[in-house]
């Protein structure tokens, strides 16, 4: 094993990305201040003003009205609220079908599974094509089977593993033809794509702070005004009575600052990341000619910062360890609690076999990524793959 001899190379921005300096400054400033935004006195009003200004800022970034922003503790909570809350609000009578895809993040996937196992929901899993895209026709067929029984639809905007971007507005339009509420998890999309809630047509949309340079522990469910999920958390009635709990003013402030900064640079940044990503793909394929790029080809159907490969004959976790020993951070996709790499459910849904799913790695770029990072990977990936292959062959 070789050891760290250069500065760490972070190629895992889809897991979390460094906080932007502006967000750190805003959060630090706010942490030193007093006030519960729900209090009626001057300190409370001051904090409430910060929250509401942040809400307005986020609404502007994401093409929503301020009243449509419901703050949560992050993406997982927002997904749970959307999926469970909309199911509970709509399942009365015969509406027990929940339509989602087999490539969702676990926050949606496992919420739907739980509804199905514990709440009598009828889960319908939409397939994807080999690039990971959910086709609007597939959604139409699935709804059409029993359109009056569909409680809600949830389809992610961009996939967290392979970076595939779905035609969200077309999908939302199909759901609306049947009067079915449509939720989308835009956690990965929000940092790199123009995510406009109104234009998307979605009824509910999940975003989170730490994927776009804000802090961990804050996110939002953007909810159309007529949409009323049953709350998951009951309490003080904050956030339209939909999400109780004291609002985290410093985190919300930093979330808004990060999102605004992200939006300000988005066009240039997307182009810069796409160029770096294409270079990364080029270098990996040059070093490992039989590596397979998973997901949609570079272009509008793929997140600009995402590159995801299968390395035939390798185990992803061995490769990850070898790269880690060289100071390069990447990801095998979803990890279970014990830290064991499971074969990616996303790749399996895209038609990959078990060994291809296990032998895959995600490299994701973000706002601090540089050409140096990509070159560092290009320098060591070939030898790491050779070695991981020897280990797997035993």
């Amino acid at each position: 094993m070789s050891s760290h001899n250069t500065s760490p190379v972070y190629l895992d921005h889809a897991a979390t990305t460094p906080m932007r300096p502006e967000a750190i400054a805003a959060m630090t400033e706010e942490l030193a201040r007093l006030g519960n935004p729900s209090s009626l006195h001057a300190a409370g009003r001051r904090a409430r003003r910060v929250v509401e200004e942040s809400r307005e800022q986020l609404a502007e970034v994401f093409g929503a009205r301020p009243s449509e922003i419901v703050f949560t503790s992050g993406g997982t909570e927002a997904d749970n609220l959307a999926v469970k809350g909309l199911y509970w609000a709509r399942h009365q009578g015969s509406r027990r079908r929940v339509l989602t895809t087999s490539v969702e993040h676990h926050a949606v996937l496992d919420s739907v599974r739980w509804l199905s196992e514990a709440q009598g929901a009828d889960a319908v899993w939409l397939g994807v094509d080999s690039g990971g895209v959910v086709r609007p026709e597939a959604l139409r067929v699935a709804i059409d089977q029993a359109s009056d029984q569909v409680a809600m639809v949830s389809v992610m905007w961009a996939n967290n593993e392979v970076g595939t971007v779905n035609p969200v507005s077309e999908l939302a339009a199909v759901a609306h033809e049947y009067g079915v509420p449509f939720h989308t998890d835009a956690v990965q999309a929000a940092a790199q794509l123009p995510v406009d809630f109104a234009a998307s047509g979605a009824d509910a949309l999940t975003v989170t702070g730490h994927k776009l340079g804000g802090p961990v522990g804050v996110g939002a469910l953007i909810l159309g005004r007529g949409v009323a999920p049953v709350p998951v958390l009951h309490g003080g009635g904050q956030e339209r009575d939909i999400r109780s709990g004291t609002l985290d003013t410093p985190a919300i402030r930093a979330f808004a600052v990060a999102a605004a900064e992200c939006a300000r640079c988005r066009v240039d940044e997307a182009a810069r990341l796409a160029e770096l990503r294409d270079d990364l793909i080029h270098q990996v394929l040059a070093a490992v000619p039989d590596a397979v790029l998973n997901g949609s080809p570079p272009g509008p159907d793929r997140l600009p910062g995402n590159a995801h490969f299968s390395f035939p004959g390798c185990e992803g976790d061995a490769l990850l360890m070898l790269l880690d020993a060289n100071g390069i951070a990447c990801s095998t996709g979803s990890a279970c609690t014990a830290g064991v790499a499971e074969p990616s459910h996303v790749l399996l849904a895209m038609g990959a076999d078990d060994s291809r799913a296990r032998g895959s790695l995600r490299f994701s770029l973000g706002h601090t990524s540089t050409k140096h990072d990509v070159d560092a990977l290009g320098l060591v990936i070939g030898e790491a793959v050779d070695r991981a292959r020897r280990a797997a062959a035993r």
């Binding site: 094993m1 050891s3 976790d317 360890m321 070898l322 880690d324 830290g339 064991v340």
Partner: protein, 355 residues
């Protein structure tokens, strides 16, 4: 790193010795809660966390390696299969042989590591395995199955230290596992009920319980519930004619017949053992006087060992009791391990039973 005090301290000592160390925790069940949970286990989420925290404190990278399939095939299924044919396996020995110093070692070598370092209590000196200085913790018996090649890539930094000092050292190093209880029992049998575990895997396979003359004394639901030397739980109802306790003397897997008889029937004088591994000496061409240990933490017996084709015959100088097929016969010269083989047949001193 199992999550216990021994492997954590061993890792810390390896770092102190100047090695570049990476912590590896083995996930031995794809569904962690299905194996032992609570205070102890090789493969619980709590143990994985304890191991990770120890690695943090020591300051080494840490990964979980998924060995669930290999472990299930080579240790759990082997355990069940051995009982099914009337033998008494040692799963810890099998895990060392097939997992820690085979699957893990092979993968480690291929990935660029030089050795597997564990918290076992044993010493390696000039390539020869020796007992640990702490006789109560010595684990050379369950490591003796390792070949010279495996030993050449093994490190046991705790062999020179009594366990009580290892705990004190772990506390000094700030390792939270310093006072974690020792492991016991079989890690993959969550409730400690080996008989119930085997019954679930093997089902009911009834047979007869007979005495040494062949008289049927009773029935049983599965010969796997019996171990040679066992006295309790025979459920025979009537006492023996001589009024003395009866013991399991032999298990015949094909007819599933369990033979019981008086204690003298357990006095073994000669042992046949298969698949010998010689790591402390060249395979002896002539009979060799040495010591033999016949089960984990068991007594040592003076013996004469002689090769017999691919097998090994061990003549005990004095009879030994409770020798079970499937256990290892480990030969020692003082503290040094000469070799190891799997017990496949025994002969009793009084010729009451030959099994």
């Amino acid at each position: 790193m199992s999550g216990g005090v021994d492997s954590a301290t061993a890792a810390a000592r390896a770092v102190d010795a100047g090695h570049e160390v990476t912590g590896v925790h083995l996930a031995l069940s794809s569904n962690p809660s299905s194996y032992r949970t609570g205070a102890r286990g090789c493969c619980t989420l709590e143990d994985a966390r304890d191991a990770r925290r120890a690695a943090d404190v020591i300051g080494i990278p840490f990964y979980v390696w998924d060995m669930a399939e290999r472990f299930h095939r080579d240790v759990v299924e082997d355990f069940v299969a051995e009982y099914a044919v009337g033998r008494t396996p040692n799963p810890c020995l099998r895990c060392n042989e097939k997992i820690k110093f085979a699957a893990v070692l092979d993968r480690a070598l291929a990935l660029g590591f030089d050795a597997v370092c564990t918290g076992h209590y044993a010493r390696i000196s000039d390539g020869v395995l020796h007992r640990a200085v702490d006789p109560g913790k010595d684990q050379s018996y369950v490591l003796a199955v390792l070949t010279s090649d495996q030993l050449s890539h093994a490190m046991f930094p705790l062999g020179d230290t009594p366990k009580v000092q290892v705990r004190a050292e772990a506390a000094r190093r700030g390792l939270a596992v310093a006072d974690k209880p020792d492991s016991h029992d079989v890690c993959f049998i969550a409730d400690g009920d080996t008989k119930g575990f085997l019954a679930r895997h093997l089902g009911q396979v009834p047979g007869q319980i007979v005495d040494t003359s062949g008289t049927v004394l009773g029935e049983h639901d599965g010969a796997y519930a019996f171990t040679v030397g066992q006295r309790k739980g025979l459920h025979l109802g009537t006492p023996a004619e001589d009024g003395k306790p009866r013991y399991v003397l032999g298990i015949e897997p094909v007819t599933r017949t369990v033979t019981v008889g008086p204690a003298e029937g357990l006095d073994i004088i000669e042992i046949t053992a298969e698949r010998p591994v010689w790591t402390g000496c060249v395979p002896p061409a002539e009979p060799r006087d040495c010591l033999v240990q016949l089960r984990a933490h068991g007594d040592v017996h003076a013996c004469t060992a002689r090769p017999a084709g691919d097998a090994l015959r061990i003549r005990l100088h004095h009879p030994a009791r409770g020798v079970a097929k499937g256990q290892a016969a480990v030969l020692y010269d003082g503290d040094a391990v000469l070799g190891s083989a799997t017990i496949s047949g025994t002969s009793v001193a009084t010729e009451l039973v030959r099994s």
